[in-house]
């Protein structure tokens, strides 16, 4: 055990953006202390400290006890987004963003633990770190235990995927117990029995289901199913039908089949209320398929159509990443800088900082 230092078995290379941010913090702290030292008068400092201590004690936020509620005081019950995405802000400042079709149900909600069941769909969670409650997201065939972090969980009948934007989560299932860090992604296939119990039989063209160890990817590959050979979903003139068709294809992992109905919505129904969301969804798919140029077009189109505030952070962060990928460094830097200015913790935070700080 102890013959050689354990450090040889450990990862010991902190990322450069983290050290860069720390250096900025050190300079700020040293600057503050030196300024304070120059101007400080002993009596004044003692008085100020006493006043600050008093104010601090009065203003010290009392820890919340009892169940989490919506920020407006309403109790946290089952919630779903039917026609359009929803954002839930909770009393501890954590947020849950439900994509269309997603549903969550509180299983336990008290001063010690918040356990939410994601029954279907895709949801993004941003959990305020350091709170008194332990957060658990139950995805059916695996659970996600949360430290302070932001991450996305997507569940359908056959699989569960978890993608961490920043922070760290622990994913626990029958065959998996993994800790995921920023940028990492895991896709877990449903056990065959669970899938048979809960879903209708798959179409003949669908790839056979397999139960195997989960795959951890960091961070590029996202498509968990092989490119589908099934025909593209039927596309009608009705934009809602087209969107449903695209959503179904996406949830089943047939990413390429979702493109045509989304493009039809954008081409034939640009005034539809969900057209901006269709453009954002199309960009997500194109990013998944490494089509940076297509994603750039879709993101620009989404902006022209009007990005809902809920998605602004994702769009500006994705825009910066895509501009960088297409070689437009200056555009990427400008976009990243604007994004960091508007949002405290946008997706891809470290990459955005890297883009801003790049020489």
């Amino acid at each position: 055990m102890i013959e050689r230092p354990i450090a040889h078995d450990l990862d010991s290379t902190p990322d450069e953006p983290r050290l860069h941010a720390a250096w900025r913090g050190v300079r700020d702290r040293v600057g503050e202390r030196r300024r304070a030292r120059r101007t400080r008068l002993v009596g004044g400092v003692a008085l100020a400290a006493a006043v600050a201590l008093g104010v601090g004690l009065l203003a010290w936020p009392m820890p919340e006890t009892g169940p989490l509620r919506h920020a407006d005081g309403e109790p946290l019950n089952a919630a779903e987004s039917i026609a359009e995405p929803r954002a839930l802000r909770l009393t501890d400042d954590s947020t849950i963003e439900l994509d269309t079709g997603a549903r969550i149900e509180p299983v336990r909600n008290d001063g010690e633990r918040v356990e939410l069941l994601l029954t279907r769909g895709r949801a993004r969670f941003e959990v305020t770190p350091g709170g008194p409650r332990r957060w658990v997201i139950d995805g059916g065939f695996a659970r996600v235990e949360v430290v302070g972090t932001a991450f996305v969980v997507e569940r359908d009948e056959r699989s569960l995927s978890v993608e961490v934007e920043h922070g760290r989560v622990r994913v626990i299932g029958d065959e998996v117990d993994r800790s995921l860090g920023a940028g990492e992604h895991i896709a877990i296939e449903a056990p065959v029995r669970a899938a048979i119990d809960s879903v209708p039989p798959p179409p003949a063209e669908a790839p056979p289901e397999e139960t195997g160890p989960p795959t951890v990817q960091a961070p590029e590959p996202r498509e968990t199913t092989a490119p589908s050979v099934s025909p593209a979903p039927a596309t009608g003139e009705d934009p809602s039908e087209l969107l449903r068709s695209a959503d179904l294809a996406r949830r089943e992992g047939r990413m390429r089949d979702a493109i045509a109905p989304l493009e039809a919505v954008l081409r034939d129904h640009p005034d539809h209320a969900e057209a901006p969301l269709a453009a954002i969804t199309l960009a997500r798919i194109q990013l998944t398929l490494d089509d940076s140029a297509g994603a750039l077009r879709s993101l620009r189109l989404a902006r022209r159509l009007g990005v809902p505030r809920l998605f602004d952070a994702e769009v500006c962060a994705s825009m910066a990443m895509v501009l960088d990928a297409t070689g437009n460094r200056e555009g990427a830097r400008s976009e990243a800088s604007a994004c960091l200015g508007r949002h405290g913790t946008p997706p891809h935070l470290e990459e955005l900082r890297r883009l801003v700080d790049a020489p």
């Binding site: 055990m1 102890i2 050689r4 230092p5 354990i6 450090a7 078995d9 450990l10 990862d11 010991s12 290379t13 902190p14 983290r18 050290l19 941010a21 720390a22 250096w23 913090g25 050190v26 702290r29 040293v30 202390r33 030196r34 030292r37 820890p63 001063g111 010690e112 633990r113 770190p129 350091g130 709170g131 008194p132 409650r133 332990r134 235990e145 949360v146 430290v147 302070g148 922070g167 760290r168 622990r170 800790s179």
Partner: protein, 187 residues
């Protein structure tokens, strides 16, 4: 002190920093920041707290640099500041846990920060060590980690944690017994 080919020594950098040379301060940070961050992360088992410790450690060091009597001993002096900052965070964390204000999980245990080429058996072993370390008093755990994880010399550990050599040895030996027991090893 660490030798750096063609790079100025710690002593030189400290003297230049004392003469208000901002470049020398940044050079000292660049030289030791990664080591301090990794050390803090491993001792605290929390990534977010380690960032704070890193910044406070260097802020303390640069504002108290004139109190360093031997500039060539900058590294162990800096690590001493870091460990004192870590202890302060450990006390706060223990208090928050006792009051029920923090129930979040550790995210930088040995098993969690193991390198990707670590074998499953070694990972399991690190997991067992983590469980034992969680039961130790922080002073005992810190001394053991400095010795067995970081590979520091006993004299340096005594200086870093601010205790006598005999105390440092006693803490490490006591932890060794428990860790070896958990791993099923004899002395």
């Amino acid at each position: 002190m660490v030798a750096h080919d063609r790079a100025p020594s710690d002593e030189t950098l400290v003297k230049r920093a004392l003469a208000s040379d901002a470049w020398a301060e940044e050079a000292l940070f660049r030289r030791y920041a990664a080591q301090v961050l990794v050390l803090a992360e491993r001792l605290l088992r929390r990534r977010s707290l380690a960032d704070d410790v890193l910044q406070d450690t260097f802020a303390d060091a640069f504002t108290k640099l004139e109190t360093l009597r031997d500039p060539s001993a900058f590294r162990s002096w800096l690590f001493g500041i870091a460990v004192r900052r870590v202890r302060r965070q450990q006390r706060k964390l223990a208090m928050r846990r006792a009051l029920g204000l923090d129930r979040s999980l550790d995210d930088a245990t040995l098993a969690m920060v193991a390198s990707s080429d670590c074998s499953p058996e070694r990972l399991a072993e690190l997991g067992r060590i983590d469980r034992i370390l969680a039961t130790l008093h922080p002073d005992q755990r810190n001394a053991w980690m400095l010795r067995r994880v970081e590979g520091e010399k006993l004299e340096d550990i005594a200086s870093i944690v601010g205790c006598s050599l005999a105390t440092a040895k006693r803490r490490i030996q006591a932890a060794d017994v428990l860790v070896r027991g958990a791993l099923g090893e004899s002395r």
